[in-house]
């Protein structure tokens, strides 16, 4: 972001104080009031069209729809989380936080960025969900602690699971941002002391869109909301509840290092020649072949980079059962449960094969000392 951008952003924020926020204004009107140029608006629409995996010819339609629709009410709840998804959103550039939070969305409740605190804040939430019942979008960040009646996570004296049931129950749709909210994530890793689960599991029966990733890619969150605004329905989901436009392809199949994989050129050690040349990270435990996400194309932080692009293997953070099923981070295969660590399937398998081979070899030694059977023997017995 250049200095000029920062200045113009500051001007926009100053102007915001004067502009009366009217919930009934369309997004297009609000943007014009804020002095967002038509050009920037169309650039945003093109970026969102691409993020939704739609052809470029859809960009004018996205622009037209956003011009006409009213902004939705949105509440953002923090559960058991590290606030990493909020951080990803606040640091996202496309759109900037000013655009998404102040212009496009009407965020009525967000613990991290709202001015209100304590009972005032909780009151605001209660009011919003009562006034816009069935019309607001609920975003949940973090896993929900279910153990012992949900006592391990609470906000404002209410347990997270109760709050989630209440807020998600009245929402038009719930967006679970980040792996924790989607599937339990790191908090749900063995031994899972709080009984952490994802939103869909904690509140069955409500419509949940999962946007896993650690953190969520803010562009995917924006695209999901834009999809709803443009088409009036939630995007097509896969069997894990993830939008197909962002999770429809495997990282491995869109990876910029894939040609090195097919060629047989691998990083063998950190910092070796292959690593410096950008070879495939398969042997360093890359989970790209097991992970569905649009990281290679969408990337993070203004499309600057992503883990594999920066020379680190994919950790598989966007998959269900991350952390447990994706470990160890720098090995190809999980360890075999029930055996000590460092016991891989192939070590155990090789041991098994050697054991079986030795047993049959011993049997063979004993057998070969015996006389060959006379075919007539049986006849004699009879």
């Amino acid at each position: 972001m250049s200095e000029h951008d920062v200045e113009s952003r500051c001007d926009t924020v100053k102007q915001n104080g004067d502009v009366k926020q009217n919930r009934e204004d369309t997004i297009g009107e609000i943007l014009r009031q804020r002095g967002v140029s038509r050009r920037d608006f169309l650039k945003f629409c093109s970026a969102m069209t691409a993020a939704m995996a739609l052809p470029a010819s859809f960009a004018p339609r996205v622009a037209q729809a956003l011009d006409e629709v009213k902004r939705p009410t949105l509440v953002w709840l923090e559960m058991q989380s590290c606030t990493g998804d909020t951080e990803a959103l606040l640091r996202s550039a496309n759109p900037t936080v000013a655009e998404i939070v102040l212009d496009i969305l009407s965020v009525d409740y967000h613990e991290t960025i709202m001015a209100a605190a304590g009972h005032q804040a909780e009151e605001a939430l209660d009011k919003t969900i009562a006034a816009y019942k069935g019309k607001y979008i609920c975003v949940i960040e973090g896993s929900i602690a279910m153990k012992d009646g949900g006592i391990y996570g609470s906000t404002g004296g209410k347990s997270h699971v109760d709050r989630a049931r209440q807020v998600c129950g009245g929402a038009l749709a719930t967006i679970a941002v980040g792996t924790c909210a989607s599937y339990g994530g790191i908090a749900a890793a063995v031994p899972n002391p709080t009984g952490a689960v994802g939103v869909q599991e904690a509140v069955p029966g409500v419509t949940v869109i999962n946007l896993p990733g650690c953190p969520v890619n803010a562009d995917n969150l924006t695209a999901t909301i834009v999809h709803y605004l443009v088409f009036g329905k939630i995007p097509a989901l896969d069997s894990h509840g993830r939008p197909l436009f962002a999770y429809g392809k495997r990282i491995h199949d869109n990876c910029e290092r894939r040609p090195h994989f097919d060629a047989g050129q691998y990083v063998e050690q950190w910092g070796d020649e292959g690593h410096r040349k950008g070879f495939c990270l398969y042997k360093m435990g890359c989970k790209g072949p097991a992970t569905f996400h649009n990281c290679p194309t969408q990337r993070y932080n203004e499309k600057t980079s992503w883990p594999v692009g920066a020379g680190h293997p994919c950790a598989g953070c966007a998959e269900p059962q991350f952390w447990d099923a994706m470990g160890p981070m720098y090995k190809r295969l999980p360890n075999v449960p029930g055996f000590g660590i460092e016991h891989t399937a192939d070590k155990i398998g090789l041991g098994m094969a050697i054991g079986v081979g030795a047993a049959f070899a011993a049997h063979g030694v004993i057998s070969s000392l015996r006389k060959d059977k006379d075919p007539a023997e049986k006849t004699k017995e009879d």
Binding site: R332, I348, K373, K380
Partner: protein, 240 residues
């Protein structure tokens, strides 16, 4: 000893059975070698257009399809009424005679008694192992093709294998796919050893039979009490 020995010529392995056996053997060999190279790519490509891993994976997938077609063909072939290749042969543990023969075979392997059961085709312990092997095959097909189909999510194969994806994560599939290979390798060690033992030491004619289809033996093949197999593999009733 004055009586001459009467050898009967049994047609034990029909041509489709032999073809399936050798397709299985070849594809298991190829799958194990290429599978190992996929897990531990020790052959390095010298340039970005070498396509080493590409070819290794291609061979693995073709051999995987070959094994799948061979195993399914063999299962369909077993729907016939042939004594040595029909499905009845595969469930000795369902009949009393079968259990008796499994015990005889176990006693033989543990050097308790040298007697082998009245079986010309599969021995009853071996077919029990084959049932287990086929279950491992289907575990390998499920995990292998589920991993393979992930290149085209939403495709027909991906849709057909949906239960597998719901059952376990991709990494768990990989783990079981590796372990499955080692179980099959253990089975192969057992298989080759037993063939040597029963042919060379016990003169059962196993090795030649899988090439020619015929076994020459003085034995009878008793399926169950009062039921035997003739030289062509047809069931015949015997008087008690």
């Amino acid at each position: 000893m004055s009586e001459p020995l009467v050898f009967k010529r049994y047609y034990v392995w029909q041509l489709p059975v032999r073809i399936c056996h050798w397709v299985n053997a070849l594809s298991i060999l190829l799958l194990s070698i290429t599978g190992f190279l996929i897990g531990y790519p020790v052959i390095a490509g010298s340039s970005p257009d070498a396509y080493v891993m590409g070819w290794v994976r291609f061979v693995h997938f073709v051999a995987g399809y070959a094994l799948l077609i061979s195993v399914i063909s063999r299962l369909l072939w077993s729907l016939n009424d042939h004594c040595f290749s029909g499905w009845r042969e595969y469930f000795p543990f369902l009949t009393r005679e079968g259990w008796k023969n499994i015990l005889v075979m176990l006693k033989f392997y543990f050097f308790i008694d040298r007697k082998t059961p009245d079986a010309v085709g599969h021995n009853p312990l071996a077919v029990t192992a084959y049932v287990g092997l086929f279950l491992i095959f289907f575990g390998m097909f499920a995990s292998g093709f589920a991993l393979y189909a992930e290149h085209a999510p939403g495709g027909a194969m991906h849709g057909m294998l949906k239960p597998v994806y719901l059952l376990m994560s991709t990494q768990t599939m990989r783990l079981y796919h590796h372990l499955g290979m080692w179980f099959i390798i253990c089975y192969v060690i057992n298989h080759i050893y037993s063939v040597w033992l029963l042919d060379v030491k016990e003169k059962g004619g196993e090795i030649t039979s899988i090439f020619s289809g015929y076994k020459y033996t003085t034995k009878l093949h008793v399926f169950s009490e009062g039921k035997e197999c003739d030289e062509n593999g047809c069931f015949i009733k015997t008087k008690k």
